[in-house]
Amino acid sequence: MILIGLALILLALFGAPLFVIVSASALIGFYHADIPLMAFANEFYRIADMPILLAIPLFTFAGYLLSESEAPGRLVRLTRALFGWVPGGLAIIALMACAMFTAFTGASGVTIIALGALLYPALAEAGYDEKFNLGLITSAGSLGLLFAPSLPLILYGVVAEISIDQLFIAGVLPGMLMLVLLGGWSVWSNRSIRVPLGSFSWSEAGAALWESIWEIPLPFVVLGGIYSGYFAVSEAAAVTALYVLIVEVLIRREVSLQRLPSVMRESMVLVGGIMVILGASLASTNVMIDAQIPQKLVGFVEQYVSSPLTFQLLLLLFLLVLGAILDIFSALVLVVPLILPVAAQYGMHPMHLGIVFLATMQLGYLTPPIGLNLFISSYRFEKPITQVYLSTIPFFLILLISVLIITFLPALSLVFLGE
């Protein structure tokens, strides 16, 4: 059994698709427990029992379609017109635009491709240092993770079986904290550079607003609808998908009807990749629960860790390593079922755990060897990966500080939940 486990880990490290590793371990687990292997298919079929999952393909499609249109350019122009007069404005604009875009497109790396290409030259033109720009864009590419309606937040709600509406509220302050700290550092580190302040122009603001007239209602409908309780999350996703489809394809015609099917297919490649791991993990989690692995894990950890403080420190360390080797979606479906009961033992609220989990995993986007953002930036801006990595270090440290604050100040996540 241990040998098989080691072999599977080795195959995973050599690059076997993760869903295959998870499926194989579930199948082997059922076989050992004398459970008919049909159980695997039965567990996988439970995907059809989770109404909230509808939100995942719909939001992903809407996000892909938005990034294929010229909406990213309009978003940059609009934030620039509205906030360009603030000191350090352009850096802050980059952070805000990236956070907003990532929340809608699900932290799949499209932010760097869609927005980075616009912001990177703009930053250089405004006199910012190349190393700073590279680091800023690379780290901002996963910044909106904690804001509704980001895909990882939804997936955490699914796996932990807690209210996604509440998770959306829990993420607001921690997400803002990251934005504020990164923004503050951007202003401070560029204090010596005399970037000419843009002045606020009513006519430019008006023109930018007018240009984005079709996209502006989107965040209000989605966030307003969800936060007010008017829409369920999956309903908001359906409205978003249909609205974006009508606006970008039929009204603006920025994505042609001929191009539409391949955008649909591409977005479903990502969805299929995530969901097939989720389906397999439903089976593997079942195997682990039958073998009482979560209880054993709780017992094991309790033996060595007595205080909640030590537990949280160890958890952070574990999540940092996890984030460096596993992508956020796989980590969510595979690890959350295991650490939820352990965290509960130390009095950690499941909402708080979720925010800490995602915030820490966000750092994983910036850590070698698999940090997705590093590769996308390196590819997109044609810079060696080591240079990209070095440029992100100050941003990484600031995000690490935010993660520490988020972890040890649970109120930040829980204050609006009325708990």
Binding site: G15, L18, F19, A24, A41, L58, F231
Partner: protein, 168 residues
């Protein structure tokens, strides 16, 4: 040559069918979900079977998406050691991984088929009298197509390795 051409045609038709299926499924999902919201909010009514059908469509789109990801070999993976290998060794490990993936997917497909056949015999129904096994059928279909893709990768790469050619 003619057999080759026939296989080519078959492959092309298969690709078109896969792409059409995933696009239509997503399109139908958006349309049905939107229709349901309009009915609920404007006409204060709703289709009773729509929510269940939508959940099943999510399963279908998930597997069709996974089939698409398999064709592009774009599944989520870790791959720390693989990229450190010299090209020749990487070719060999890839061969093992393709065969392993095809085998696991085939096993999953086989037992999914058993589930579907069992359900058919049992005669369970969903959505007002539709046989339930039809909705489950995507499981064996999806895993079979994934297994097929990786088997094709295996033979393609084995051929490359054996002949030292880069074109198949």
């Amino acid at each position: 040559m003619t057999v080759g051409r026939l296989l080519d045609r078959l492959e092309q038709t298969g690709r078109l069918a896969e792409d059409t299926a995933v696009v239509l499924m997503l399109g139908a999902m958006i349309a049905l979900a939107a229709l349901q919201i309009i009915l609920r909010n404007v006409f204060d009514t709703g289709l009773i079977w729509a929510d269940q059908l939508l959940r099943i469509m999510v399963l279908w789109v998930a597997l069709l998406g996974a089939v698409a990801a398999s064709r592009d070999d774009k599944h989520i993976r870790i791959d720390i050691l693989g990229r450190l290998l010299p090209p020749k060794a990487k070719q060999v490990t890839d061969l093992v991984l393709h065969l392993f993936t095809a085998t696991v997917a085939a096993v999953a497909a086989w037992f999914a088929l058993a589930l579907v056949l069992g359900e058919r015999q049992y005669g369970g129904t969903l959505l007002a009298d539709m046989p339930a096994w039809i909705f489950q059928a995507i499981l064996p279909i999806g895993f079979t197509l994934i297994a097929y893709r990786y088997l094709v990768f295996f033979f393609r790469d084995a051929y490359k390795l054996a002949t030292g050619k880069t074109q198949s």
